[in-house]
Amino acid sequence: MAIQRKANVHILDGNQAAAIAAMMSRVQVIAAYPITPQTPLTEQLSRYVEQGELQAEYVAVESEHSAMAVCTSASLVGARTFTATSSHGLAYMHEMLHWAAGARLPIVLACVNRAIGAPWNVLNDQQDSISQRDTGWIQIYCRNNQEIMDTIIQAYRIAEQVFVPVMVCYDGYILSHTEMPVDVPIQEEVDRYLPSYQPHTVLDPANPKNYNLVTLANPRVGVDGKLCHGYMELRYLLQEALQNSKEVIVKSGKEFNQLFGRDYANVFWEDRNEDAEITIVAMGSLAMEAIVAADMLREQGIKVGVLGLRVFRPFPKSEVVQALRKSKLIVVFDKNISYGSEGATCSEIKSALYGTYINAAIRNFIVGLGGRDIKARELVEATKKAIASLKETVVNPDYPEWICEI
């Protein structure tokens, strides 16, 4: 049952929504380095701290690598931490992303999705966060600014239960610099939703501990005689935590709805997928464009639905299978590519469907790299091209098609 509450709508761009969400989550340590298009977010947060609106330590670091190192240390000693970056900044953070996940620290990072060089490009695609796919972070993608605000708040609730860091991804400029109406929660509600952070480890001089020292592959007996995890067991636990986090993500989304009246009890969004013969799959703001494309195709009598991926890690395999069970054709649009293969979400969809009774044809299109504008009518044309291709073969091609002018 949706809760009746007074709306508190502000016109915010994505970075402002993220800054307010971080502040309302009562983050205690922020360490960030400005990078386009994330810069206004960090500027806003440092302003909140400077003006005394947010009781937090803002550490102006000299690099993104250091930003994540500061977040890791602060999180280990019990502070709720936040950082944000984009593109090359996220790439520079790569090593410490592994460390944060391996140390099982509930850090929340806003990734304002931007293309990676060479050549230099400051505009949007999702190559940056997709390139960090295997670092052990939960990845959640937002379609609009309301989702940015809500997802950052939820991210702390998720991360602090499963002890896995969460990357909240949203498209640069398309969301980060575009103003939209956003319903801003009141602080008391957020406080009720987010209890204070209880770290899994407490550094105490009276009871000294070593954390994440050189750990050999095999288990070993500690000084207290207990058999302790080897490296392999710790990696298993990280995988297990991500597997189990799916349930926590859905539960946290449901609990969010109970307090704020917006339902996130899902791992992806669906639009008219119940009777769809063709499903368009997209992630982030592109999923909104796909809904417009589906409208246009429906007007032409083609039964199209949309699956907008929200949670990319952990990848919701069984849910995707359930959602695509009636589809005869799946058209996957990716704003990223695994060079030499295909779009990352396409690979995931194929992997999820393999060995099931679903034998839909899958067509993958690479779109919108480096901020290349992608309009709904181009998604429509691509979908029609995919439909036409079925006359030739239902076999999935080895490589994706690109929407560009080569």
């Binding site: 000294p208 070593n210 994440n212 020292l213 500690g222 000084v223 058999l227 302790c228 995890h229 067991e233």
Partner: protein, 98 residues
Amino acid sequence: MGTRDCNHICDESSPGIGEAGRTGEWRTLMPVIDDKKCTASKLNKPTCFLCWLYCPEAVITKGIPPLINLEYCKGCGICLQVCPVQAIVMIHEEKIAD
């Protein structure tokens, strides 16, 4: 019984002797101190102890004679390098076994 019972969520250990296991097993060369040459032993008074000072694993006692804890000595040979009277030699482990 697996490792879950340790209840650690990330790598965690308490500092203590042998925290990293019996590192003496890593050794291929074993240091042996010749008491006839060792300054502290020869003079029978607390002196020198450079081996004790430089040992990176802190496995040499500041005694007369200085004793090496072979449970944890990795056989790095730093004691041999710093001994001013060449009282320490490194011997192949297999020779000891003979």
